[in-house]
């Protein structure tokens, strides 16, 4: 059971592969030994450097700006990630982000907020995953490796934020950048395919009120880090000490 995880997490093997791949890119064509060839690169562009642990992606959501009844962020997420299937049972539909309306029974104050994967620093979903499919990238984005997810849904049980969904039916017409299919668990990826291209997540871009801020928590000059340093913010269920990447204001 531990074999695939060991293989994937073995840093020396990884570095060797990555280094040789870079070598192949710079040299053009490489033959290490008879029968052991490396890729001849026809496309000139070099691969990107990848996720860095110097970066910690995070999101700040100002719930005082978030309008009840508005679900632009949910729609943008569904469009970007190709979540468009019709499900027989509404409870089985995938929710990468959902809107929640809250009411304080004492004061009667109502507010609304989007809830999604909180991209924990210490993610319980990663702790419980028996195959190593639930994983956290160096830049703090928590993902499911569908190639080795067996669909046991243990992570769904472990997540305190109900952030994960299971795909119950065969899918077609996926976004080529966002593969998803039956039998795997999935959740918000911070639109990793956009973030890696230097874009913001679709929900952040779509919010008409500008209630969502996305950025690098580790960069003191970033908008999000400056605001977190100067304004009050909350982590949902901070008592769990999971080190959330998503922070809220006004709750």
């Amino acid at each position: 059971m531990s074999a695939p995880q060991n293989r994937i997490n073995n840093p020396s093997r990884r570095n060797f592969i990555a280094a040789t791949a870079v070598g192949a890119a710079s040299l053009g064509a490489v033959a290490l030994a008879p029968g052991l060839h490396l890729i001849e690169v026809s496309q000139a562009s070099a691969p990107s450097a990848g996720a860095s642990s110097k970066v910690r992606w995070g999101m700040l959501i100002d719930t005082t700006k978030c309008a009840s009844g508005c679900d632009e962020c949910v729609q943008a997420c569904n469009t970007e990630n190709g979540i468009n299937e019709t499900v027989q049972d509404a409870r089985q539909g995938s929710q990468w982000i959902r809107k929640i309306d809250l009411k304080d029974p004492q004061s009667g104050r109502q507010h609304s907020l989007p809830m999604m994967c909180q991209h924990c620093e210490k993610p319980p979903c990663v702790d419980v995953c028996p195959t190593g499919a639930s994983m956290k990238r160096a830049d703090g984005i928590v993902l499911v490796d569908r190639h080795i997810c067996i669909g046991c849904r243990y992570c769904m049980m472990a997540c305190p934020y109900k952030a994960r969904s299971f795909v119950h039916q065969p899918l077609t017409e996926q976004n080529p950048q966002v593969p998803r299919g039956m039998g795997c668990v999935e959740s918000c990826t911070f639109c990793v395919q956009r973030v890696d291209r230097g874009l913001k997540p679709a929900c952040v871009e779509a919010c008409p009120e500008g209630a969502m801020t996305f950025g690098d928590l580790n960069d003191p000059n970033s908008d999000i880090a400056r605001r977190l340093a100067n304004e009050a913010s909350t982590q949902v269920r901070a008592d769990l000490k999971l080190g959330l990447g998503v922070r809220y204001q006004g709750i």
Binding site: I8, R14, I17, A18, A21, A24, A25, H37, I39, E40, V41, S42, Q43, S45, A46, P47, S48, A49, G50, A51, N78, T79, E80, N81, G82, I83, N84, M135, R137, A138, D139, L143, D145, R146, H147, P170, L171, T172, E173, Q174, N175, P176, Q177, V178, P179, R180, G181, M182, G183, C184, V192, D196, R197
Partner: protein
Amino acid sequence: MKAVALALLLALTSVLALAGAPKPVIRIENPGQCIAPAAEMRKNHMEMLKHQRDRTLRQGIRGEAASLNECINCHAGKTSGTVTGQDGFCQQCHSYVAVKLDCWDCHQPKAGNQHAATGVKP
């Protein structure tokens, strides 16, 4: 007489066995340079894709030469627009060697950007 008949039968069956199943017809509809010679691609494409997928997903390395989307963009049929189906580039060989393809359970097998993030069925 019996021996001759037996020999004939043996010869016939061995010829049939040699003939085997019909070879796959591989159509390259967008000829150009692949990322490696054909012989190497035939032998190693699965290894290339497997290591690339792990680097992309786990380390966030994008834009490598080996990429399933790039395979599709070149090898999708011009009329069908896909690498799957009866005459699909991937399907042809995989049917011949009886290796199940489950890439398309999750990945989009059609070429082009017309499917990029539309969120609706085309």
